[in-house]
Amino acid sequence: MMNRRHLLYAGAAAAMLPGSLLAGRASAQGAASEPAFAPTPGAWRNFQVVTRLEILENPGATQAWVPLPAFTAQDWFKPLGNTWTSNAALVESVTDAQGAQMLHVRWSAGETPPVVEVTSRVSTRDRSVDLSKPGTAAPLSAEERAKYLAAADLIPVDGIVKTTSDKITAGKEGDLAKTRAIYEWVVENTFRNAATRGCGTGDVASMLESGTLGGKCADLNALFVGLVRAAGIPARDIYGVRVAPSKFGYKSLGANSDVITKAQHCRAEVYLSGFGWVPTDPADVRKVVLEEPPGKLAIDDGKVKAARAALFGSWEGNWLAYNTAHDVSLPGSSGPKLAFLMYPQAETASGRLDCLDPDTFKYTLRSAELAA
């Protein structure tokens, strides 16, 4: 039986051959017959997301935590505030030590059924960074640089992550070339697994040790972030949710209904000297491969090629950003930390509920575009 690891490195070698390198974004979009995926900064769009959460099981004293959009980037994302209603005894907006903002809600025993509804408004737009010439972005502070190079519980930057990163970036000069090599490697060697629950777990070392490089966005983009950090380049996941369809006609890359309860998605950024934070999303390339109609597209399909070229340096503003935090402690909880906060969470007297189980823990997210 062929060893999965052998497949892994065979794929890596193929990905690093000059002939397999991607053409640039311009050439991928150059032919009129080729599909277009070309996010470009333009008009701002305002969105409202309403998160309604109910605890269905007989709860006793109950707590819940609802993620709030706290991320701010002046050139593409601005939170516009949150409002809420609840039958809870206590509701407060809190931020954990890693920067994840959330609404913390406490219900007394007997307050049945516990309900909270949170309305968040944000303004966002497409992003695109011209990687052909460095700009004048200020360097990260020493503190920020250390933060975005550090390991997280599930994203080590030593051991197999470091050795894999070193193999991928061998012979590459400069952070841009190294980061692009890692991006291409992740696209070539991973796969989106439809059976993965939610957005995945993001246990990077386990993925590499087992050679099973399947999962969803929280797995594949965490792998990308870990490999980039291990190369000494600052990187981060941004956890959020899709709020609108893709205007480029990519069904797989948008929320195609006003109900976005299962549209959570994390993206990734790398910090490149002169360019600043650069948007990337290798996980979405694999999503296009698996899910873009008619499905199971070839890696050289035109739609895949266009998305692959664009998603290193740009992304579409049809998505809300919550936070960039790893290893999140829920204030008021005695339970373990979360690898990331992208889903509503709740605890009853019987313990933490399964945020992916709609039978005992019902929540809905609805999105609407507002007049800008």
Partner: protein, 221 residues
């Protein structure tokens, strides 16, 4: 229904960091799969023999509400299997491990330890996949860290003195005779069982850390 409403105003709440048990690198590999006649190979992993000090003890909640201590199994061959329900190789391996547990019920105690998942998710998973061994919950991954586990699934085979004797990283073919031979060999070996030492008097045991990757055979890191 009384409504409470509000807006804006974030308040910073400092999170407390967990204390961590540093990994030790004192254990060493004594053989590779080819040199180990009893080695059991699976679809991606082999049980590799190694030696080291007694494994760090643990006391963990079980899915059925009990509390289970590793020390309680002293005197029997013990198989400590670390997994998660999201891990595809883990899911594939569990039915064969359950059959293996039934075959060796007289000599082997198996602890399957789920890491980092909410109880409700694990409970729901095993409602559709009943197994013949207790499932323990390492909710904060502290056991996983103290044993130096970096990949799932990982399995340790301990002798009757709770010394780790074999380890596999990846899914093992538990239905194959090689796995049975590993257990038979250990069960037949006379092992001096150390008298119980109260935890308060015990030196912290170094983490179990093999010196080679069982999947790739790569050297120690």
């Amino acid at each position: 229904m009384a409504l409470l409403s509000g807006a804006g105003g974030a308040k910073a709440v400092a999170a407390q960091n967990e204390s961590r048990i540093p990994l030790s690198q004192s254990a060493t590999v004594v053989s590779d799969p080819a040199a180990s006649p009893g080695a059991a190979s699976g679809t991606g992993a082999a049980l590799l023999s190694f030696s080291g000090p007694a494994a760090p003890s643990f006391v963990l909640p079980a899915l059925d509400g009990a509390t289970v201590a590793l020390d309680a199994a002293r005197g029997r061959v013990v198989l400590v299997h670390v997994f998660a329900t999201w891990c595809e190789p883990c899911r594939e391996e569990l039915p064969a491990l359950s059959r293996f547990a039934l075959r060796h019920a007289d000599t082997v105690t198996i602890f399957a330890i789920d890491v980092g998942e909410v109880d409700a998710r694990v409970r729901r998973f095993f409602e559709t996949l009943p197994v013949s061994f207790p499932v323990l919950l390492d909710r904060d991954r502290s056991m996983m860290r103290s044993w130096g586990v970096s990949a799932l699934p990982t399995t340790f085979v301990l002798d009757a003195a709770l010394r780790p004797r074999y380890r596999a990283v990846g899914d093992v073919a538990w239905d194959e005779p090689a796995a049975d031979r590993v257990i038979a060999g250990l069960a037949a070996s006379p092992v001096a069982v150390s008298p119980e030492i109260p935890a308060a008097l015990r030196e912290p045991a170094p983490a179990v850390r093999p010196a080679a990757n069982a999947v790739t055979g790569e050297p120690p890191r």
